[in-house]
C-alpha cells in the first residue's frame, strides 16, 4: 500500500474546561490531539485570580493572615503556617515549643485531609465512585478537630504570627489520638479498594510518567517529585517548627507514574499519622504565644521561607519596609509550579489519561491563580 499521509494530518484541537467535571475547578486545558492521542496541551489559567499578593500590600501583617487560607483552601493550615513562619523569621521571633508542636499536629492533620480530598476526587475521575465518600467520611473527622480547635473547618486561620491564638481544648489530645487509632484501618480499606485492583492498575501504571530529571527541570516538588524517586522533603531537608524532633520516613516511588504518585500519597498519610502521634504524646506545656508587639513593624529586610505543604514546596517571599504593611509578598505555590509539568506528562497518552493525570498532580486552582 502507498504511504498514506494526509489522514494523519487530522490534528484536532479540543478544549477541555474551564467548565469540565474533571479539571478540578476552573482550569482550561487546550489539547492537541491526533485521534485519541494527545500531542500536547496548554493550560489556560487565571479564572480564579483574586490578586492575593496585591491584597497583602494593603493589609497589615496580621490582617493578611486569613487571606492565605484562601489560596490552597484544602490545605489552609499549611498556608497559614508558611506565612506565619515567614513573618516570624523577618521579626526574629520564634513560636514557643508548645505552639510549634500544636502547629505540627494541625499541619499534618491538614496534610491528611488534603490527601484524602485528592484521593477521593482522583478515584472519581477514574470512575470509582465509592472511595470519595469513604475519604470524605474520614476527612470529616479531621475537620471536626479543626472546628473544635479554631472554629472553622476549611479556612481555618488557625495560627497567628508568633504562635497560636487558641489554647488547645480539653479533649484535643484524646480526639487526635482517636483519629490516629481509627485512620490506619481506613487507609487499608482504600488500598484494598484500589491498590490491587487490576482496572486501577491499568488506568494508572505507566500513565503520565515524569522522570526525576524532568521534575528538576520543571521545579516540581512534593509527592509528584518524590514519586519519581527523589527523596526530597523540606521537613527533613530544612526542618522547621521542630520537625527535626520527629521520626518519620520519606516515601518515594520509582517510576514516576500516576500509580507511584498515588502510593506515595497513601504512604505519606501513614507517615503523617506517625508524626502526629509523636507530637501529641510529647506535647510540651508552656506559653503558646511568643513575644510579638501588638502593632507589628518588622525591620527593613526580606526573607524567603518555604515549607512542605501537602502539594509540594510552599514558599513565601516577604519584604518589609519597616511599616505596618508588607511591602511585597510573593508566594511560590506548589500547584502552579507542578501544573507546568502537565504538558510533559500528557504527551503521547490518551484523552482518558489526561483526566487521570490532571487528578494526579493534585492542583487547587485557588492556589494556581491566587
Amino acid at each position: 500500500m502507498p504511504d498514506v499521509t494526509f489522514l494523519d494530518a487530522n490534528e484536532l484541537v479540543l478544549n477541555m474546561g474551564p467548565q469540565h467535571p474533571s479539571t478540578h475547578g476552573v482550569l482550561r486545558v487546550i489539547l492537541k490531539l491526533d485521534g485519541e492521542k494527545v500531542l500536547g496541551c496548554e493550560c489556560v489559567i487565571g479564572y480564579l485570580h483574586r490578586g492575593v499578593e496585591k491584597i497583602a500590600e494593603n493589609r497589615t501583617w496580621m490582617q493578611f493572615a486569613p487571606y492565605v487560607d484562601r489560596m490552597d483552601y484544602v490545605a489552609a493550615v499549611s498556608n497559614g503556617l508558611g506565612y506565619c513562619l515567614a513573618v516570624e523569621k523577618l521579626m526574629s521571633v520564634e513560636a514557643p515549643p508548645r505552639a510549634q508542636a500544636v502547629r505540627v499536629i494541625l499541619t499534618e492533620l491538614n496534610r491528611i485531609t488534603s490527601h484524602l480530598l485528592w484521593l477521593g476526587t482522583h478515584a472519581l475521575d477514574i470512575g470509582a465512585i465509592t472511595p470519595v465518600f469513604y475519604c470524605f467520611r474520614e476527612r470529616e473527622e479531621a475537620l471536626k478537630i479543626f472546628e473544635n480547635y479554631c472554629g472553622a473547618r476549611l479556612t481555618t486561620h488557625a495560627f497567628r504570627i508568633g504562635g497560636l491564638q487558641y489554647e488547645t481544648y480539653d479533649t484535643f489530645e484524646k480526639e487526635v489520638l482517636a483519629f490516629c487509632d481509627m485512620f490506619p484501618a481506613k487507609v487499608d480499606e482504600y488500598e484494598e479498594l484500589l491498590t490491587g485492583n487490576r482496572i486501577w492498575l491499568g488506568r494508572t501504571r505507566g500513565v503520565g510518567i515524569l522522570t526525576a530529571e524532568d521534575c528538576k527541570d520543571f521545579g516540581v516538588t512534593g509527592p509528584v517529585l518524590r514519586a519519581s524517586g527523589v527523596e526530597w522533603d523540606l521537613r527533613k531537608a530544612q526542618p522547621y517548627s521542630g520537625y527535626e524532633k520527629y521520626d518519620f520516613a520519606i516515601p518515594t516511588g520509582r517510576n514516576g507514574d500516576t500509580f507511584d504518585r498515588y502510593i506515595v500519597r497513601i504512604q505519606e498519610m501513614r507517615q503523617s499519622l506517625r508524626i502526629i502521634r509523636q507530637a501529641v504524646e510529647g506535647l510540651p506545656t508552656g506559653p503558646i504565644m511568643g513575644k510579638v508587639p501588638k502593632v507589628m513593624k518588622p525591620p527593613v529586610g526580606e526573607c524567603y521561607v518555604s515549607i512542605e505543604a501537602p502539594k509540594g514546596e510552599l514558599g513565601y517571599f516577604v519584604v518589609s519596609d519597616n511599616s505596618t504593611q508588607p511591602y511585597r509578598v510573593r508566594v511560590r505555590p506548589p500547584s502552579f509550579v507542578n501544573l507546568q509539568a502537565l504538558d510533559r506528562m500528557c504527551r503521547g497518552s490518551l484523552i482518558a489519561d489526561v483526566v487521570a493525570i490532571i487528578g494526579t498532580i493534585d492542583i487547587v486552582l485557588g492556589e494556581v491563580d491566587r
Partner: protein, 102 residues
C-alpha cells in the same frame, strides 16, 4: 383471497432483484451500491427459502445461510476497500474511481 403460493414469493423475489439491480447500476455512491448488492442477495434468499418450503427439505435454508455468510464477507471486504479508497481519494463516488490506480 388466493392463498399464498410459491409463485408469490418468486414474483416478490424477482421484483427485489430488479430493485437491487437498478440500485447497483444507477447510484453513484459506493455505499449505496453495496447496499443494493445486499438487496440482490436477499432476493436470492427469498427464492431459496420458498423452494425449500415447497420441496419439503431444509437444503434451501442451508444455502441461504451460506449466502448470508457470503454477504457478511462481501460487506466486510467491500467496506474495507471503501475506507481505503476514501482515505486516498476522499470520495465515495463510483464515477470518480475509474482509473485502476491511485
Amino acid at each position: 383471497m388466493h392463498p399464498i403460493t410459491t409463485v408469490h414469493y418468486l414474483f416478490l423475489s424477482a421484483a427485489l432483484l430488479l430493485v437491487g439491480t437498478i440500485g447497483v447500476l444507477t447510484r453513484r455512491n459506493i455505499v449505496v451500491i453495496l447496499m443494493s448488492i445486499e438487496l440482490i442477495l436477499n432476493a436470492v434468499n427469498i427464492n431459496l427459502i420458498a423452494f425449500s418450503r415447497q420441496l419439503g427439505n431444509v437444503n434451501g435454508q442451508v444455502f441461504a445461510i451460506f449466502v448470508i455468510t457470503d454477504a457478511a464477507a462481501e460487506a466486510a471486504v467491500g467496506l474495507g476497500i471503501l475506507i481505503a479508497l476514501f482515505r486516498n481519494k476522499e470520495t465515495v463516488n463510483a464515477d470518480e474511481v475509474d482509473i485502476l490506480k491511485w
